[in-house]
Amino acid sequence: MSSDLQNKLEELAGTNETKGGALVLCRSGTPAAMAAILRAIDNTILPRLLELKVGASHISVLAGGRRLRAIHAVSGDLPSDGLELGQPLSRDDEAMQNQVGQLFKALTAKEGVLTLLRKIDPKASDQSDGGLEIGGLAKSWDVDLNATPPSALAQFIFSLGEDVLSHVEFGGDGIIDESGAADLNTILKSDELQEKVTSIQKETRQGQNASGKNQVIVLSGHLPDGALLCVTQIADSSALLAVQKKALSSVATAWSHV
């Protein structure tokens, strides 16, 4: 059995879903965030409790059979007045659908990272009837289900949050994105640093075997104030990042989710 098929079956069966912590879906505040939530529900075959979170704001929903069954809990600064928590959602109740849509839109409008935690929960199994089908919701809420999520590299960078002091992302035509402190960006874009990085990459085992492989290299001692230099290659994109000097563990955690 191929590993892809095995992974898909495990995903559908729900094994290991609560072991690895929350999954980073995407950056909130983008059109892709609503689409990511609906796709997550659409990918939920067996009854599950889905916990969606951005910062301190959180929505738990009951899902299954590729449908949104019920809103289970809401916390944080979100519009929950009038919501009937735990009650089955029906496509005949248009007002409630709109209210749920406003709830999700409020969550995805928050600044931060949208994460998903799937849980096996008896309450999800209790909700086996009814529910809202994703295609209908996408139409009703004006969500493009094909909205492209950020690239894996963009997600890696974003999941590091405020640990990233500065970054420069390279694509086929040169620099395609950058953020952060201008002085650090100038250093990251300098020929001197890039030549140094290329030289180091050539002398590492990963650099020598890098063709088409994802890699990250974190180096200390190359940037001011103890900042770490992070060199990353994912698929066809690469980036140089300046990260906080204490952020080595954060980089490792973010990399483990790529």
Binding site: S220, G221, S249
Partner: protein, 110 residues
């Protein structure tokens, strides 16, 4: 005995596959944990790699799709380096903290 220190540390760090102690002044692999699957040639290559990635710094991490290699320079003896090959879900903070202690113990003649 230093060998035991590496074996014990490897047992403490979840997901740890290899621990090795390098002396960059002589570019030699002086110790390795007894359970490592890495060949001596591979460890020699890692020792050279440590010299490159730690040229200006105290710590370096190299990640692939399957594992991390972490190089940690001793605070007390800068030519002493600990190399840790571990799983992607290994607690890197453990490697840094426990690894530095281990380096000090080895450097102190344990």
């Amino acid at each position: 005995m230093a060998q035991n220190l590496l074996d014990q540390l490897c047992d403490k760090i979840a997901g740890c596959e290899t621990l090795a102690f390098f002396d960059l002044s002589t570019r030699m692999v002086l110790l390795k944990n007894s359970g490592t699957p890495q060949s001596q040639d591979a460890l020699n290559t890692m020792c050279k790699e440590a010299e490159v990635v730690l040229e200006d710094g105290a710590v370096s991490l190299l990640g692939s799709d399957t594992q991390f290699t972490i190089y940690l320079r001793s605070d007390k003896v800068p030519t002493d380096v600990l190399c840790c090959v571990c799983a992607l879900d290994t607690d890197v903070e453990d490697v840094l903290t426990l690894g530095q202690t281990c380096l000090e113990e080895i450097g102190g003649g344990a």
